[in-house]
Amino acid sequence: MIRHTVLFTGYELKKSFSNPIWPLFGMIQPVLYLLMFAPLLKTMTPGGTTTDALRMFTPAAMMMIAVFGSLFSGFGLIAELRNGSLERYAVSPAWRPAIVLGRVAKDMVVLVCQAILVLVVAMAMGVRIGAVELVLVLLLMAATGLFASGLSQGLALTVRDENGMSQTLNLFMLPIMLLAGLFVPISFAPDWMKTLAPVNPLYHAVEAGRALFAGRLSDSSIPVAFGLFLVLAVLTTIWSMRSLRRIAG
């Protein structure tokens, strides 16, 4: 079981890095966000320095990469559904969940690389974070990514159509992004949005991330976010594995 998962993870990673341009583009994007969005945000942040803005925005950027980077990884699965390779793996003696878990694990590896890059840039720009907080932020990001990747694989295997998949993702992306306070903290939002925000799981991840970057280790948002995303990650991963079973008896 573990051997097959490792096998598929390695295979997927090799596939991703066979043309290193694309993963590189994926990694540059969050850095661009930091470089171009943080100065914009500065004018809106109480206090008003770039470091303050970054302390606000870096955790948001990390959760954003975790969710939106991984949400798109299911597209690869649709291509494989179409070219028949998924069917071929389903007939092989491979432990079937490994086919999906390998992809999820690959997304996690890519995510860690991106996270480290973002942290390096943020630190170069003056953000400081304690060691414990750093580890917790990375773990929280991984849990968020795991949830999004599982969701994406499950969605791909259910929708089975690139067009439908991209429309579905687009539909959910904007509300999830705004209601999480990714770009503009939710405290600026009108009351009805404030009431609605806690329904959005990403809101809790961003809140917890901000608490960690602010060094508030005892903030109640942290255990809430961890609990929530562990449960969600387990649920979406199970769903994605079950969806695979549906395509192959």
């Binding site: 295979y11 090799k14 070219n83 028949g84 390779s85 998924l86 069917e87 003696p93």
Partner: protein, 317 residues
């Protein structure tokens, strides 16, 4: 016996706005394939060939029926069945961005082949793919992709290989090339179950075959046996009055069929019947516009069993 299947059934339910529809894709198919044999499933599109192969390869569970494949029960021990299979689907399963070699090596690893790289190199060499083995899948031609697909299916040397429509979409040269490679599998002792809607393919490749239509087996045997059942030769003619021609020729033929604007006359010995047939038609004043003599083909078998030609049946679906 590498495959013994009895009374396999599968129906699919599709739900749409128009309501629920149930399609009986396979209605009681049984088949037996001997070790080392190339067994064909011939039939028009939509006859249930792919569904049958997907059931036998553990991809979908049959609604009813049993099968023992390579000594393992399909329903009770699907994992054991999978270890003994090579499976090449209609789509092929060659990935676009990865090299052929990486895909073959991966397949070997999944099957616990002792030396995956060596096994991959050997099977790629066997299919003349060494030169393009390191190019990404999308850059390969249709024929090369097919060969990669089969190489992936064979890297673990399975005793049984499933080929679903292996030559669909290939040009004649690539088809002939692939036929030759499939024949070589038989020499290597690999049993092959292949599906096809090409008559010439079934005729040229298969030791035995079954003809399926609407999810049922309509005939089974060696290509030679099946053709002998319909009789040896077929004379196809076009005339101004087909009814009259049919009436005139009845005593000379084993069977006569009017098929739109042509008359098919089945006879045992075409060369010797032809002069008598021409004399009889002339005597009755039937005007001929064309006449042809052919050995009967599997299409004639299909026609005799289903009342349609394979070409017509293909056009229906």
């Amino acid at each position: 016996m590498i495959i013994q299947a009895d009374d396999l059934r599968k129906s699919f339910t599709t739900k749409s706005r128009k309501g629920t529809q149930t399609v009986e894709a396979v209605r009681g198919v049984g088949l037996e394939v001997e070790k080392g044999e190339i067994f064909g499933v011939l039939g028009p599109n939509g006859a249930g060939k792919t569904t049958t192969i997907r059931m036998l390869s553990t991809l979908i569970a049959p609604d009813a029926g049993t099968a023992v494949i390579a000594g393992h029960d399909l329903l009770k021990h699907p994992a054991a069945v999978r270890r003994n299979l090579g499976y090449v689907s209609q789509a092929g399963g060659v990935e676009d961005t990865t090299s052929a070699r990486a895909q073959v090596v991966m397949a070997a690893r999944i099957h616990d082949v002792a030396d995956p790289k060596q096994a991959a190199a050997e099977v790629l060499e066997r299919f003349d793919l060494t030169e393009m083995a390191d190019r990404p899948g999308r850059t390969l031609s249709g024929g090369q992709k097919r060969r990669v697909a089969i190489a992936i299916g064979l890297v673990h040397s399975p005793p049984l290989l499933f080929l679903d429509e292996p030559t669909t979409g290939l040009d004649p040269q690539n088809r002939a090339n692939l036929w030759e490679r499939i024949r070589q599998l038989r020499e290597a002792g690999t049993s092959v179950l292949l599906s096809t809607h090409y008559l010439d393919e079934a005729d040229a490749l298969c030791d035995r075959l079954m003809i399926v239509d609407h999810g049922e087996v309509v005939a089974e045997g060696t290509p030679g046996d099946l053709k002998r059942q319909v009789s040896g030769d077929v004379i196809t003619l076009r005339a101004d009055d087909l009814e009259k021609a049919a009436g005139t020729l009845k005593p000379l033929a084993r069977e006569i069929r009017v098929d739109e604007d042509v008359l098919r006359v089945y006879v045992d010995d075409g060369e010797h019947t032809l002069p008598a047939l021409l004399r009889a038609l002339e005597g009755q004043g039937v005007g001929l516009s064309s006449i042809a003599l052919d050995r009967s083909t599997l299409d004639d078998v299909f026609l005799a069993k289903t009342g349609r030609t394979l070409r017509d049946a293909g056009a229906e679906s």
